[in-house]
Subunit: 231 residues, 2 copies
């Protein structure tokens, strides 16, 4: 395993994954001591890991009681790490469907805003991303396709001019990455998916907000459909 960032990061990842995957069920209590011995680390290492977990709403920590695992309602589900852990777990498909509904909430709006606010640089960046998607679709390099796809959505959200929408780029990135890394993508991406991306890019360049919105909505619908039927 890698532990870039130190020991506490390792413990954090391990515990977070166990909680999110359901290995540690809500209501269950751990003690710091047990964490110490379990992972063979010192007090403050486990303390910091638990502290971050607490800041993500995954656990609560009370004296004399211990570290209690929180129910899902308390989880900060927009934290990229929580999303990644959930996509690594069992309810991967449910999570992706849930995220698709969320995306259909904001990405069409962002596309419409981008059509009104995108700079020429951003437009060309979008076009470039689409070109890369086309190229890597043919070459069958899913990893490179993922990179281009991610750049496309990040740039689009960035072009919306709204910082909150831009911040959701992390969420979309995790979704796209999880989808390919867990083999929920077709071996070669759908041709119509790429075409829709191109249509969004064109609509944004020409300032056609309505078409940008509907095409983006179609992208998400297509993704959700492909999820149910990965042909």
């Amino acid at each position: 395993m890698d532990d870039p960032g130190g020991l506490h990061s390792t413990v954090l990842e391990a515990l977070g994954l166990r909680i999110v995957s359901g290995d540690l069920t809500p209501g269950q209590v751990l003690t710091l001591d047990s964490v110490d011995t379990e992972y063979a680390v010192s007090r403050s290492v486990s303390r910091e890991a638990v502290r971050v977990l607490q800041s993500m709403g995954l656990v609560t920590s009370r004296r004399r009681v211990g570290v209690t695992v929180c129910p899902r309602d308390n989880w900060h589900v927009f934290d990229p790490r929580v999303i990644r852990w959930r996509l690594a777990g069992d309810d991967r498909t449910n999570q992706l469907l849930s995220l698709s509904e969320l995306r259909s909430g904001f990405e069409p709006v962002a596309a419409a805003l981008a059509a009104e606010r995108a700079t020429p640089q951003q437009c060309s960046a979008l076009s470039g991303a689409v070109m890369d998607m086309v190229a890597h679709r043919h070459s069958g390099d899913l990893e490179a396709y993922l990179v281009a796809d991610t750049i496309f959505h990040r740039t689009m959200l960035e072009a919306s001019g709204n910082e909150m929408l831009r911040a959701l780029g992390d969420v979309v990135a995790e979704v796209l990455a999880g989808r390919t890394h867990h083999h929920l993508m077709p071996a070669t991406p759908r041709a119509d998916a790429v075409a829709l991306h191109e249509r969004v890019a064109n609509a944004i360049r020409t300032g056609d907000a309505d078409d940008a919105r509907t095409a983006m909505q179609a992208i998400i619908d297509e993704a959700a459909a492909a999820l149910a039927d990965p042909s």
Copy 2:
């Protein structure tokens, strides 16, 4: 100040506020030692505070360098604490406008979904919340009005049946709370605002997804307009 949750929480709040308010500018570096002495706390207290700050994307911590304040792009702007700190700062209005655009992304969608999925209990909860809003609008009790308003939006998002949308209830709650606590609300809430809420509740009960969507969009537009002109 209160420090429910221990010393580290105090330091966390103080540092977070200073970073978000711009008192500590991006690129600026602190050392843990300086934090220790500044707030007269011990090593692990400042360490845990900084660790949480890091998990929120507000700072990075590197050896031999210190704790570096991150630019805005890295902030986890969906963390309720970050929102609260920003609403407490100077760019309050910008932040609220940005959040309004975000809300117009997902709340209409959530309303439409709620119209298809809301349970009878949720419908009556919505109606009850609207009744409370009406009552407290007349009594002029802004705090009670806020509570009812918050319950309304939380219930609506809950009724959407999508956990990610429900999680955004925290964001909306912070927005509503910040708006009244920083006196950006009219002395007595707009009558048409309440009427729109009632229309949303009715649309959800009758399963009229389209009307729920448009009425919810109108609520957000009205709120954004009232922000620009707090009459």
